[in-house]
């Protein structure tokens, strides 16, 4: 399916290559570079590029292109999802996906590449299995290795039984402190037109877990208002039938962090966008070469909550060469290279009664350039903690299974620490002017 994989950075350097069948020369990437030069930004490079004898399928992540070379029919999403999974694995191993982290651990990455695909077909992509085969580096271990003189990324004793009977969970997990954390993050995607009405609005949520529980715990997570969940996607560990029938999540979790569920929240009627924006942007003024800009944020947070990390981004047309503005709160900056105005407002304290922060002043227009008549959109990001916009709430989390006399092991009952965090963020939120 996948013949070769190339890692390419933003400056067009192929810094890693792996071939799964016959070696395909690097020059195949020239077709890719051609597309890169054609497009203004790396995000715009089409994910599927056709060349005379091959098809290049690529993803762009963390300032890098991961390019897979295919020769024959293959489901395109299969390859794309695989490349993302590969990046996830790298992230899982080295805490971040970046050119540096890959270059620093090039041998481990190459071993991983060898293990995840065989003859171009996915072999082992579950990080729990992979970690049995190839040990991830960590500070403590490298320190210990240095002291003892051991130096190996392959587990010294190949796990004979390995691969636990639940594919996604490694066996023999033990923790001194048993903890289970759930982050429920909802993102608001909306387009607001120039009159302040929402053209479209949707809420997408996800539940990310960090679970450190000993043994083989069986968890049940139930919601107060599960009817709010629509179109969910579930981690393979979730028992599907129970979700369909009882609307609760019953699962044996993988060890560590993972995404338990992603969903679309049903929101009938109007969604409350927790802020309002007044804006005037004009590029033309009677006097000389300057435009005018005025932005006012009117926060409408739910009672008792605060808008945090508020940032407004306005991509300006090429003709705007600078800005001289006054911000009543926060800081603004104008990047002349990308022509982007960024206003970082930060936290809006409702106690202070600061009211509505404004950004106001003139835009410096390039001399001689025609006055643009386009209308830039204002991109807004914010977060509100302790609140979900859809109103979804966890009812309770139950732990079963650890008390059962399985395998005649002495499993001590434990009481895990449980934590749930709610956050609402702006997803793709934009105000048209």
């Amino acid at each position: 399916m996948i013949h070769s994989i190339f890692f390419i950075n933003n400056s067009g350097d192929i810094f890693l290559e792996k071939h799964y069948k016959r070696v395909i020369p690097k020059s195949i990437c020239d077709y890719f570079f051609e597309e890169v030069t054609k497009n203004s930004s790396p995000e715009n490079v089409p994910p599927i590029i056709q060349t005379p004898n091959h098809i290049l399928i690529s993803i762009y992540r963390a300032q890098m292109h991961f390019v897979a070379v295919c020769k024959s029919e293959v489901p395109p999403l299969f390859v794309i999802e695989f490349l993302h999974r590969l990046a996830d694995i790298i992230k899982d191993y080295f805490d971040e996906v970046s050119e540096t982290s890959i270059k620093d651990n090039v041998v481990i990455v190459y071993e991983l590449l060898d293990e995840v695909l065989d003859n171009g077909f996915p072999l082992a992509t579950e990080s729990n299995i992979l970690k049995e085969l190839i040990r991830p580096p960590n500070l403590l271990r490298s320190l210990a290795d240095t002291m003892t003189g051991r130096n190996s990324t392959v587990s010294a004793t190949l796990p004979t039984g390995q691969l636990s009977n639940i594919p996604w969970r490694r066996s023999g997990v033990k923790y001194a402190n048993n903890e289970a954390y759930f982050d429920i993050v909802e993102e608001l995607d909306a387009i607001v037109d120039k009159f302040g009405g929402a053209v479209c609005a949707e809420v997408h949520g996800s539940i990310d877990c960090l679970i450190k529980l000993s043994g083989v715990p069986d968890l049940t997570l139930s919601f107060v208002n599960s009817r709010l969940i629509e179109d969910a996607s579930l981690h393979p560990c979730v028992r599907h039938r129970r979700f369909e029938v009882e609307r609760l999540l019953s699962f044996v979790p993988p060890d560590g962090g993972f995404r338990l569920m992603a969903y679309r929240a049903s929101c009938h009627g109007n969604l409350p966008v927790p802020l309002d924006l007044r804006h005037t942007i004009s590029f033309k003024q009677a006097s000389g070469n300057s435009g005018h800009l005025e932005l006012t944020v009117i926060p409408r947070p739910p009672s008792g909550r605060q808008l945090e990390d508020l940032v407004l981004t306005v991509p300006m047309p090429r003709a705007v060469s600078g800005a001289s503005l006054v911000a009543s709160a926060g800081k603004y900056s104008y990047d002349t290279a990308s022509r982007t105005l960024v206003w970082t407002v930060g936290r809006l304290d409702s106690q202070k009664g600061a009211g509505s922060p404004t950004l106001c002043g003139t835009l410096v227009m390039q001399t001689g350039a025609p006055v643009p008549d386009c209308r830039p959109s204002i991109l807004v990001s914010f977060s509100i903690t302790g609140w979900t916009i859809s109103g979804l709430k966890v009812n309770r989390l139950d732990l079963h299974g650890e008390s059962k006399p399985v395998l005649h092991q002495k499993t001590s009952k434990y009481k895990p620490f449980k934590g749930v965090k709610y956050v609402t963020k702006a997803g793709k939120l934009e105000f048209r002017t």
Binding site: L16, S72, Y110, C200, V216, R241, A262, V371, C374, E430
Partner: protein
């Protein structure tokens, strides 16, 4: 001593003794390891992946060779790491092959592993030397550790050396009946490798595939089907007996396997069952679903909720191609959900949705808002979304849609703005009732300052006017006035064409425009020149009094143009409009006839979605996306006219619990390698899996107890 070394080892590599602890820093290792190496440049050996280290001087490789020959594992390991770092970088390390291959017998598991990785990369180039390693693999194939057996088989079959084909085939045949499912999985993956080395092995491999298809572990079935797809995708008959088992196991197979199995089963369904959408002529109602057909649809349905977009797409296309009508709403809902995923997934899913929106827009009409364009979307996504929006346009949603399109027209992204103008034009031609609204809108765009938008608007207006029967001369006059201010050739050409085509309606302006353009002819772009020649010819026929001389002038200029199209056009038009007086006999093409020819009503160009014609390809396939039949694409067969024999799928009733238990303890390793045998005893020891909840309470308890006991015994056997 160790402490002092660690602190200054990097600075004094020359004097320090051989590292006793086995972990020298990289530069340290190279220096101590290369007693006979090139001492002069040793200090540059800092970064194993660094290019400076290996460039030019290949005595450096001697350095590595010496390390590989050393008796210390740490040295070998260090050398192998550097070599692999170079291989990863794409540098040629084939000259080290003899030194590396010796280490295949190394006791150190990591050295061995790296040697394996090296071997698969270079064995093909060094076939004779590669043979040295074969014996090691043959030995490893008998190792008690399943992982060692598996990796030996994997590397052995990855060595593309025809001479060892018999050894590979033999190893494969053994591995297929290995106790460990993991080894059997590796065996299934090895089949295409052997096949590509020598297609003659096909009959042998078929036997192996047949055996693997009968495998009941979730770990194996996915890859077995993949091998089936690559070697003998047409032997549908091999699937019959395994069909029900595949359906039942599907939910527990790894996501990659799920995609492959569902895609294959789509073809299977299309050959073995009747079209559920087709009316049964005798009973005048839809064909009842075959129970097996229904079984698949039912077992696959939960996979709509997979986190892997490829699985969701596979299920969606199965429902699209094989389910009775009425299920499409679910399909669309889940495909729309994928639009939230990564941009690459989004772009692929949108292409499929765009095909659906062209063939059956009613399915998507409820999701119009999902396709609204965000300014942060990538440019290809923007264009596909626009295509879908236009496909979904109806008389009722048109006002909303038009407002949305207008917003795009004033976007700073001029590519989107132009595309939005085109989209308005397409709406107008799709929905005749809206044409006037659209035209007015487009005309108002002519006042915009963005030239590319104006140009696009002109081109679209031209197309629309062509279909309009009513008189729009005022609009043409407006356009004629604009022509001086517009530099984009496409727009200028469009205006000229319009003036020529409708010169009867604007008798005053047309000759004047021709006069201006006759003057600027030499500076114009080719496509504009062509339209000037056209305009000249048309005017010459309609209004010879004013235009004849001008036309003559233009045709003369065109006659000597550098572009042969323009020269040809001039040569073709001249005898028609300016007949040579010296030829006594008037040509057949004179006067009125010429006018009829030149001003014949011309069909308007049709603007269509890319997927206006129903694609013959399977939804979600790469061929569908590129609209091109790729090698390896298996066409979706048509539904059979008669119900094929449905008893072929019958297998002996699912084994009752005890016997499956027996099968279970027999293959005790299966369970350890994370597979569930029969669906009945899916509940694995600690994890009373999914099934529990679904079964009757009483039964469940009994079974569970059985299970546990059984588990214990097998566990004991293993340990």
């Amino acid at each position: 001593s160790s402490a002092s070394k660690m602190s200054n080892g990097g600075f004094q590599p020359y004097n320090s003794p051989m590292d006793q602890l086995g972990l020298p820093p990289p530069d340290h290792a190279s220096s101590t390891g290369s007693q006979d190496g090139d001492r002069g440049t040793r200090s540059s050996a800092a970064d194993p992946a660094g290019s400076a280290f290996f460039s030019g001087d290949f005595k450096k490789h001697d350095d590595l060779r010496a390390m590989l020959e050393s008796s210390k594992d740490s040295q070998k390991l260090e050398a192998m790491r550097r070599i692999i770092a170079m291989v990863a970088k794409g540098k040629d390390c084939s000259d080290l092959f003899p030194s590396v291959v010796k280490n295949v017998v190394s006791k150190n598991s990591e050295v061995k592993k790296l040697v394996y990785v090296y071997l698969t990369r270079y064995a093909e180039e060094q076939q004779d030397l590669a043979l040295l390693s074969i014996a090691t693999f043959q030995r490893a194939l008998k190792d008690p550790n399943q992982l060692i057996r598996a990796s030996a088989l994997r590397v052995l079959t990855s060595i593309r050396v025809p001479v060892i084909l018999p050894i590979q085939t033999l190893a494969l045949q053994d591995a297929v009946s290995d106790m460990s499912a993991y080894v059997r999985k590796t065996a299934a993956l090895a089949i295409p490798k052997i096949y590509s080395l020598d297609p003659e092995t096909k009959p042998q491999l078929m036997g192996v595939i047949e055996k693997l298809l009968a495998d009941k572990t979730t770990l194996v079935v996915g890859v077995a089907i993949q091998a089936f797809e690559e070697i003998c995708p047409n032997r549908i008959d091999l699937i019959h007996k395994n069909y029900r088992k595949l359906c039942e196991l599907l939910a527990d197979v790894q996501d990659w396997g799920q995609v492959v199995i569902i895609n294959m089963l789509t073809r299977y369904v299309r050959t073995q069952f009747l079209d559920p959408a087709q009316q049964n002529q005798k009973q005048e109602r839809q064909n009842p679903l075959d129970p097996d057909h229904e079984l698949l649809l039912r077992t696959v349905r939960p996979l709509f909720q997979s986190q892997n977009a490829a699985v969701v797409m596979a299920v969606a296309q199965l429902y699209y191609h094989c389910a009775p009508p009425g299920y499409m709403n679910i399909v669309i809902r889940h495909l729309v959900r994928l639009l939230r995923a990564s941009p690459e997934v989004q772009s692929c899913v949108l292409t499929s949705l765009s095909a659906l929106s062209a063939s059956s827009p009613h399915l998507l009409s409820g999701h119009l808002k999902c396709f609204y364009i965000h300014s942060t979307d990538s440019s290809s996504v923007k264009l596909v979304k626009l295509d879908i929006l236009t496909n979904l346009a109806t008389d009722s949603n048109f006002p909303v849609l038009l407002r949305e399109l207008q917003a795009y027209v004033s976007s700073p992204d001029s590519e989107l703005a132009s595309a939005a103008v085109r989209a308005i034009g397409r709406c107008a031609s799709q929905l005749p009732d809206t044409t006037d609204t659209c035209l007015n809108n487009l005309v108002s765009l002519l006042a915009k300052k963005d030239e590319s938008v104006v140009a696009e608007a002109i081109v679209v207006i031209k197309k629309l006017l062509q279909v309009q029967t009513s008189d729009h001369s005022h609009m043409i006059v407006d356009l004629a006035r604009l022509v001086d201010g517009i530099a984009i050739p496409r727009a200028r050409a469009s205006i000229l064409w319009l003036i020529g085509e409708y010169c009867d309606r604007i008798p005053k302006i047309a000759p004047d425009v021709l006069r201006k353009f006759a003057k600027s002819f030499l500076e114009e772009e080719d496509q504009v020149k062509l339209q000037i020649v056209n305009l000249a010819a048309k005017l010459c026929v309609c209004n010879p009094k004013q235009a004849r001389l001008l036309a003559q002038y233009v045709l003369n200029l065109a006659k000597y143009d550098q572009n042969y199209d323009i020269r040809d056009r001039s040569r073709f038009l001249r005898p028609l409009v300016l007949p040579d007086p010296s030829v006594a006999e008037p040509t057949l093409l004179a006067g009125k006839r010429v006018k009829k020819i030149l001003l014949a009503p011309k069909p308007a160009p049709e603007v269509q979605s890319r997927f206006a014609e129903k694609s013959p390809f399977q939804l979600g396939s790469l061929s569908h996306l590129l609209n091109l039949r790729l090698p390896g694409y298996q066409a979706l067969p048509d539904w059979p006219a008669e119900q094929p024999d449905s008893s072929v799928r019958a297998v002996a009733a699912p084994a009752p619990a005890p016997s499956s238990m027996a099968a279970y303890s027999r293959g005790g390793v299966d369970r350890i390698s994370g597979s569930s045998d029969e669906s009945e005893d899916e509940d694995e020891d600690e994890e009373d899996d999914e099934e529990d909840e679904e079964e009757d309470e009483d039964e469940e308890e009994e079974e569970e107890e059985d299970d546990d006991e059984e588990e214990d015994s097998s566990e004991e056997e293993n340990t």
